[in-house]
């Protein structure tokens, strides 16, 4: 079994999500969103409402679940602008769980996030609360990715048995796709009919199947990242240390190019170095998420390693939609889970999966001589 990032960094295990650490979770999910994953705001509201109503949500590790425990990975699919207007229902996840129980022949035992980065990292707190089950301290990406098949369960070779979708109206759909690509196509079509947003469960698993096929301890990681900057004299240094990240450049955004096409925001942002980085021009390539960092043609970091732009003063993550001229930002990059660095992981979510003609090189192995020091 690959060594997970959580083992390497030993983030303190979170035992519950409550009113006190929910905001930290959301900040951490924004950092793990690598610029995409959708705004955490709505997930914060649903989770806050659920915690106010039913109390803290227990967080468990996979080891604490019985081998045959049913774990349901959940995410929202659809158009981000719609989810800000058509807010979630309290009932959709209940209808979805009832359908899974019918299929599996037993009640579900826990839920997990399909995607810890962005909104889908925070919403599961509300879903777990509404179902009265614990949240598992793991997810299917360890970050954010734009497509349904870009999950660790797919990398691990697990088959997509079925997908269950539940919408705000109360409709429930079960899809049995032949592979991950068809799951993306059919799930999106169903979500569109439901008003361009739906709740989705895919890769419904037993706890035994999950082990080695998910990214472990990412709820704890998100809370640790979101807590690292609180009260820190130098929030950026604190975040860099907690992430074990490289600060690739600190500077000012001097150019942004965005194109919307095929449902994605594509483009690039250019950062002009300041301070110790004066004289450098660094470009970040974007497709919903930050995917590649280039310095005079040299690749400093690339997907599936994580690349996040943060506000240099506050160390808060900045999403790709919120980037604008003049912002003072730092570009941080750090290693993804080893699962993504396997040949199959890179085939599904390496640079070439996004159309970049370059080989993935781990962030810790490249550009080490040109990397500026984190802001003192």
């Amino acid at each position: 079994m690959p060594l997970s990032m959580a083992d390497m960094h030993a983030y303190p295990r979170v035992r519950e999500i409550n009113a006190d650490n929910l905001d930290a979770l959301a900040r951490g999910c924004a950092i793990l969103g690598t610029g995409g994953g959708g705004s955490v705001d709505t997930g914060l509201l649903t989770s806050r409402s659920a915690i106010e109503k039913s109390g803290p949500v227990p967080v468990v590790t996979l080891d604490e679940l019985a081998d045959d425990a049913v774990v349901v990975p959940l995410s929202g699919v659809g158009a981000p602008t719609v989810s800000l207007e058509m807010l979630p229902s309290e009932q959709d996840v209940v209808a979805l769980a009832a359908e899974i129980q019918r299929i599996m022949g037993r009640p579900i035992d826990a839920v997990m996030s399909s995607e810890i980065g962005g909104s889908n990292g925070v919403h599961p707190v509300a879903w777990a609360s509404q179902l009265g089950v614990p949240l598992v301290d793991c997810d299917g990406m360890g970050r954010a990715f734009p497509e349904v098949q870009m999950v660790s369960m797919n990398v691990a070779g697990l088959p997509v048995n079925f997908i269950v979708l539940a919408d705000v109206i109360g409709n429930v759909s079960v899809i049995r796709p032949v592979d991950g690509e068809w799951s993306e196509r059919l799930a999106r079509a169903a979500a569109v009919a439901s008003g361009a947003h739906s709740l989705m469960a895919d890769y419904v698993l037993t706890a035994a199947e999950c082990r080695g096929a998910v990214i472990d301890a990412t709820v704890s990681q998100a809370v640790a990242l979101g807590s690292a900057t609180v009260g820190a004299g130098d929030p950026l240094a604190a975040l860099v240390e907690t992430l074990d990240a490289r600060s690739l450049v600190s500077g000012k955004i001097i150019d942004i190019e965005r194109r919307t096409g095929g449902g994605f925001v594509r483009g690039s942002v250019v950062i002009e170095g300041t301070g110790a980085d004066r004289g450098r021009l660094v470009r970040v390539e974007i497709q919903n998420e930050n995917l590649v960092v280039l310095d005079e043609g040299e690749v400093l970091a690339s997907v599936p390693d994580l690349i996040t732009l943060v506000d240099t003063a506050s160390a808060q993550a900045i999403s790709t939609e919120s980037l604008r001229y003049g912002q003072r930002v730092s570009v941080l990059a750090w290693a993804c889970d080893p699962l993504w660095r396997t040949p199959r992981g890179l085939e599904i979510a390496g640079p070439r999966a996004f159309g970049y003609d370059l080989d993935f090189v781990p962030v810790e192995e490249i550009g080490s001589t040109t990397i500026g020091a984190p802001r003192a």
Partner: protein, 539 residues
């Protein structure tokens, strides 16, 4: 503060009188520290101006400012026909949780939206002050117009009956109502039938844009402010009546335009944020440029904004009002903790500028004024950027190097802020206004020139006095063949709303039209925002 030009120019031309000879107007801007007033004639010449202290009750300071300019006008006061007021009454009421109405909140959208109850993220004390009761009932639409559920009129009727006699106002928000507004209108009719026409109704589609939580918040705040709006109108009327003035009054709103009183009474929340907008519009008028960066330097802080075509550039981000997130369009303002009273500490080579300020007390506590506190005004005096009567800059000789370092640091902060708001567009002029504008150096990197217009110290009150009336409309239109017709309807509604706000019908124009394609949708659709504006009609 330096008295740059206290006497109105006696040689200024007097405009042709209005139909009834009432050709003068008073512009008033109530700010955090000062209440400013100006009197303009029909040619927009400044006849009188004043800067008074803002009082805790706001109204007293307002009265003082009006009294001061009327005094200066002398017998010409009979020619005042209009008063334009930009005020912080509504903002203060929200910040202080004072005089707010109890609101019954209706949301149309169940079973959607039930996971986020209304007013969820409000500060508890503000929610307590405002929320009477709330309900989420069947209704609302999907993004393509398909109904989520039929409008549950039985549930609405039962809810309205339960709050009868207790609700001071009702706020109604439907899912996707900016595109499909009929259900909200139907509920408004039900409220009038069941609770009476004197219980005001705040409809979300008239106030905010897409984003249900923020739009609902704005609609509820608006409903809570009806009483405050009545209070302001009455206070202003009392002040004017006290001076024997019979005038038409207008209220400044957050985009730098005006609303007639009956319109302001329906949308009081729009008065929030009028200060920076007034200041930007006033700076544009006084300097004669319509595309520029504006810096308004006060006693405690500075606001930087950008003028595009004579109007403030608006922020794309959500705006927090008293801890409540809303999605009004507000001027895109960058605030700096730099003002005339900002304290300077430390020693040469290790200077700390602010962020605190002596504010009002500059005239007694500032070093050059005989006090013991080093401030940025002392720095400007020492460096010769301004001379102020009655000050003695030599009192600051001992800390000359410290002050000079502080001013250098301030210049750098201003230059950096100017670059940030410019969005990379260099060589625009920089217009410096406000009582502390002498802090801005003559040479700022990235700008073509620094303009310091006459009467810049009361640019905000001038902005209120010269403002036009406007109306807005936001909706979603199909991207196909029906687009043209839907766009025309949106323009027509925006113009109609500008006329309701007080614009002269024959001179209303669409001044802004933005279309944003929505991604990931089943049918291509465009979010359209239209703003129409025109000069005020005759009184």
């Amino acid at each position: 503060m330096p008295d740059l030009d206290a006497t109105p120019n006696p040689a200024s031309p007097v405009g042709t009188a209005g139909l009834d000879g009432r050709d003068l107007r008073i512009g008033i801007d109530v700010g955090g520290t000062h209440t400013d007033a100006v009197v303009l004639d029909e040619t927009n010449t400044v006849l009188a101006w004043t800067k008074q202290a803002t009082t805790a009750d706001v109204t007293t300071g307002l009265g003082n400012a009006v009294a001061a300019v009327l005094e200066e006008l002398g017998p010409r006061r009979d020619r005042v026909g209009r008063v334009m007021l930009g005020t912080t009454h509504a903002t203060n009421a929200i910040l202080e949780r004072r005089a707010l109405g109890r609101v019954a909140v209706v949301r149309l959208g169940a079973p959607a939206t039930t996971a986020v109850p209304p007013l969820l993220a409000w500060p508890a004390d503000l929610r307590e002050a405002v929320l009477l009761d709330s309900v989420i009932v069947g209704g609302g639409h999907l993004v393509d117009g398909y109904p989520i559920a039929p409008l549950d009129t039985d549930a609405i009727a039962a809810f309205l009956d339960s709050v009868e006699g207790r609700a001071e106002a009702v706020a109604v928000t439907g899912v996707f109502s900016p595109a499909f507004r009929e259900q909200e209108l139907e509920v408004a009719t039900m409220v009038a039938d069941r609770l009476g026409a004197d219980v005001p109704v705040s409809l979300s589609h008239e106030i905010g844009s897409l984003g249900l939580v923020e739009r609902e918040n704005a609609a509820v705040l608006n409903a809570a402010l009806y009483g405050v709006a009545r209070g302001v109108t009455e206070a202003l009327a009392a002040v004017l009546e006290g001076h024997g003035l019979e005038v038409t009054s207008y209220f400044a709103q957050n985009d730098g335009t005006l609303m007639a009183p009956d319109y302001a009474a329906r949308y009081p929340v729009l008065t929030i944020g009028s200060g920076p907008a007034n200041s930007l519009r006033g700076a544009a008028f006084l300097s004669g440029v319509s595309d520029a960066i504006v810096v308004d330097v006060g006693g405690t802080s500075s606001d930087l904004g950008v003028l595009v075509g004579g109007f403030p550039r608006e922020s794309a981000l959500a705006v927090d009002i008293g801890g409540v997130r809303t999605n009004f369009r507000m001027p895109d303002i960058l605030g700096l903790a730099i003002g005339g009273g900002t304290r300077v500490r430390g020693e040469a080579g290790d200077v700390t500028v602010g962020p605190d300020s002596v504010g009002y007390a500059l005239g007694t506590e500032g070093l050059s004024f005989g006090g013991e506190v080093a401030t940025l005004t002392d720095a400007a005096l020492v460096e010769g950027r301004v001379s102020i009567e009655g000050t003695d800059a030599s009192r600051a000789d001992g800390v000359r190097k410290l002050l000079s370092d502080a001013l250098a640091q301030t210049d750098e902060s201003v230059a950096e802020a100017v670059d940030q708001v410019s969005l990379g567009r260099s060589s625009q002029p920089l217009v410096a206004v406000g009582g502390g504008s002498f802090l801005v150096p003559d040479d700022v990197p990235g700008v073509s020139t620094v303009l310091r217009p006459r009467y810049g110290q009361v640019a905000n009150a001038v902005g209120a006095a010269i403002a036009m009336a406007s109306g807005r409309w936001e909706t979603i239109v199909p991207a196909g063949p029906a687009r043209a017709e839907a766009l025309e309807e949106a323009k027509r509604i925006a113009c109609q709303r500008a006329i309701q706000a007080g614009a002269e019908p024959s001179q209303v124009d669409v001044v802004e039209l933005t279309e944003v394609p929505l991604s990931y949708l089943p049918e291509p659709a465009i979010r359209v925002h239209v703003k129409a504006a025109g000069p005020l009609g005759r009184v």
